[in-house]
Symmetry: C2
Subunit: 342 residues, 2 copies
DNA sequence: TTGTAAGCGTTATCAT
DNA sequence: ATGATAACGCTTACAA
């Protein structure tokens, strides 16, 4: 790395003091017209770039946001895109760190970003995260923090999240409306709120419709497509097998679909299927899959906006929560004409 | 943000000089046992964290890598994961910036990361990038730089890339081997080497097999699935329509597939189809799609390793090029039994 | 073994 | 209008 030009170099060359150079460069009012021009000309010529490190050290501000996410699947990548967009606009650079669904990595990431003196954090926790000391540490240092998507209820910071309960409800209700009588659930990791809230929605709707909730029909598959595949095989081998499956993510739904097909059953005739996230893939498989849209890009943008608001504003926003409403996209996998009912 | 503990605080509290504190903290040999213990104990108690900014300013090293990529689609996200993995291991933090396939954004990103004084750059250029001043600027400052995936031939820096020529060849040869006689090409952006090299492979193999290369059968679709859809519709409406399509990416192949199906033609019987990237989606659609694997995760890791090698090593590596061999995964979309031939 | 002081690149507060 | 100086947090000769 070559030596960068500094204001000192300019000062020396022009035989003036560095403070004058600094002023000229920043268009301060109290600097001579001549000097200003000379300084700017030379700065241009030497390709002077202000040293951000020095500035950050002085101002205690890095214009950097630490973003910690569990992975880079389609949903998160889309959210990151939204966050990035808004952050860039506002003059911030985002440091994206993947925890890989590992609690340990999440802690390491937090530690590093803390050391890097990011101006604040935007976090979606890993599926392993049940201890929140690292989050609390951020809070105790009074560093701005926004949680999104996979949030932690017990921690009081601004949040952006989907109305997952509602998502679980509309998916389940839709299956019931289509005449399915025995709906299984492929749930996500047990300690993840997004999974549990969707599950809760499922249970609530079953109850509302006087369908019996059967714990044997609920299987936790993390977010692993292969687990979903195996779980579905088991479900469909039961003596009294379910006639529909609600999967907590599209990847799980795909796993289920593969199993269903392999067992020679027809979707949606024999088995109804609904996924979650509305990833592009949902409408590309055959039959295409009914899914709950979560507006990931918009959620990302909202998150970054909230973060920046928090950074600049002075009001306490720790109770602020933006809740995005999900929307069901109905496709072939769950559309059962009356005649199709067994 | 609360005030962080500094060595000064510790020095003051212990009534010793800051240099002694500095030494004690870094386990320098020339420091009294007593002092060392006292310092460390207090540091622990006050939760002292060294200020990276100050260190970076001093050492002119930020332990940060600037990563500029055109988007976060599956392939890139997978590569990023690989890069991240290796970088983290080596003690570097990655700043991911998306150019969104925009040349302007790519320049802005470069400028910002340059200002942020990243220790080096890892870049995959946008599809709009035909001018390389920003890249040359990085070089002229002697800042380490590695190009990957979408590299620039005319620039002499270490590169990690796929053997795209080979990829184009094996895909085309496979279609010919399956008895297809008139193969169309859905190409990518015109000024992107990865697209052109694959195209070149296609032409070479056609020639080798004495099939006539027909420019009307080559359509540039950027990486836009909808364009591919429309292009395919046109191709298949020709009086003498092609009997196979080689798409430069899986997304384009999907676009083609949708068009083919919509026109009531059968894959692979009427039309053979081969994609590129081997994304998960390739094996999930029906029929599943033959595709060229590019080992994105491994490529990402190799890129980061090369970068770090460059950073630490002192030898000139500007001519170093790691070329990954692609591999064809044959699936239903192109398997035509002898009997299927028209 | 410990302390002093200069320096990394910049801004801000005083003087002049 | 310009300059000198302290400060941001840390390391590192050089002194003591």
């Amino acid at each position: 790395m070559e030596k960068q030009t500094t204001i000192k170099d300019i000062a020396l060359a022009l035989r003036i003091s560095i403070s004058t150079v600094s002023r000229a460069l920043r268009d301060a009012p109290d600097v001579g017209e001549e000097t200003r021009k000379a300084v700017k000309a030379l700065a241009e010529e030497l390709d002077y770039q202000p040293n951000k490190l020095a500035l950050s050290l002085l101002k205690k501000q890095t214009n950097t946001i630490g973003l910690i996410i569990p992975n880079l699947d389609w949903v998160l990548a889309t959210m990151v895109k939204g966050i990035d967009e808004v952050a860039l606009e506002a003059g911030y650079t985002v440091m994206v760190c993947q925890s890989n669904e590992s609690f340990g990595r999440e802690m390491v990431n937090t530690k590093r970003l803390l050391e890097s003196l990011v101006d604040g954090f935007i976090i979606s926790v890993s599926s392993e995260t049940t201890i929140f000391e690292h989050i609390k540490k951020i809070q105790s240092k009074k560093i701005p923090l926004v949680l999104f998507d996979r949030v932690i209820d017990s921690i009081s910071v601004p949040k952006v999240r989907l109305d997952n309960l509602e998502g679980g409800k509309i998916a389940t209700q839709h299956l019931i409306d289509q005449g399915y009588k025995k709906i299984a659930l492929l749930a996500g990791p047990e300690n993840l709120n997004i999974s549990n809230e969707r599950k809760e929605g499922y249970f609530q709707v079953l109850k509302l419709n006087k369908q019996k909730a059967d714990k044997n029909l609920v299987i936790h598959c993390d977010f692993n497509q292969d687990y979903a595949y195996m779980a579905t095989k088991e479900l469909l081998s039961m003596k009294n097998r379910p006639d529909a499956i609600f999967a907590i993510s599209d990847r799980l739904a795909i796993g289920a679909m593969l199993a269903i097909k392999e067992m020679g059953l027809k979707i949606p005739k024999d088995i109804g299927l609904v996924g979650f996230n509305n990833e592009p893939i949902a409408k590309l498989v055959t039959p295409n899959i009914t899914s709950v849209e979560m507006f990931a890009f918009e959620m990302g943008k909202a998150t970054a906006k909230l973060f920046i608001e928090m950074l600049h504003g002075d009001t306490d926003m720790s109770e602020k929560e933006i809740i995005v409403k999900p929307k069901l996209f109905i496709r072939e996998s769950s559309k059962r004409g009356v005649n199709d009912k067994p």
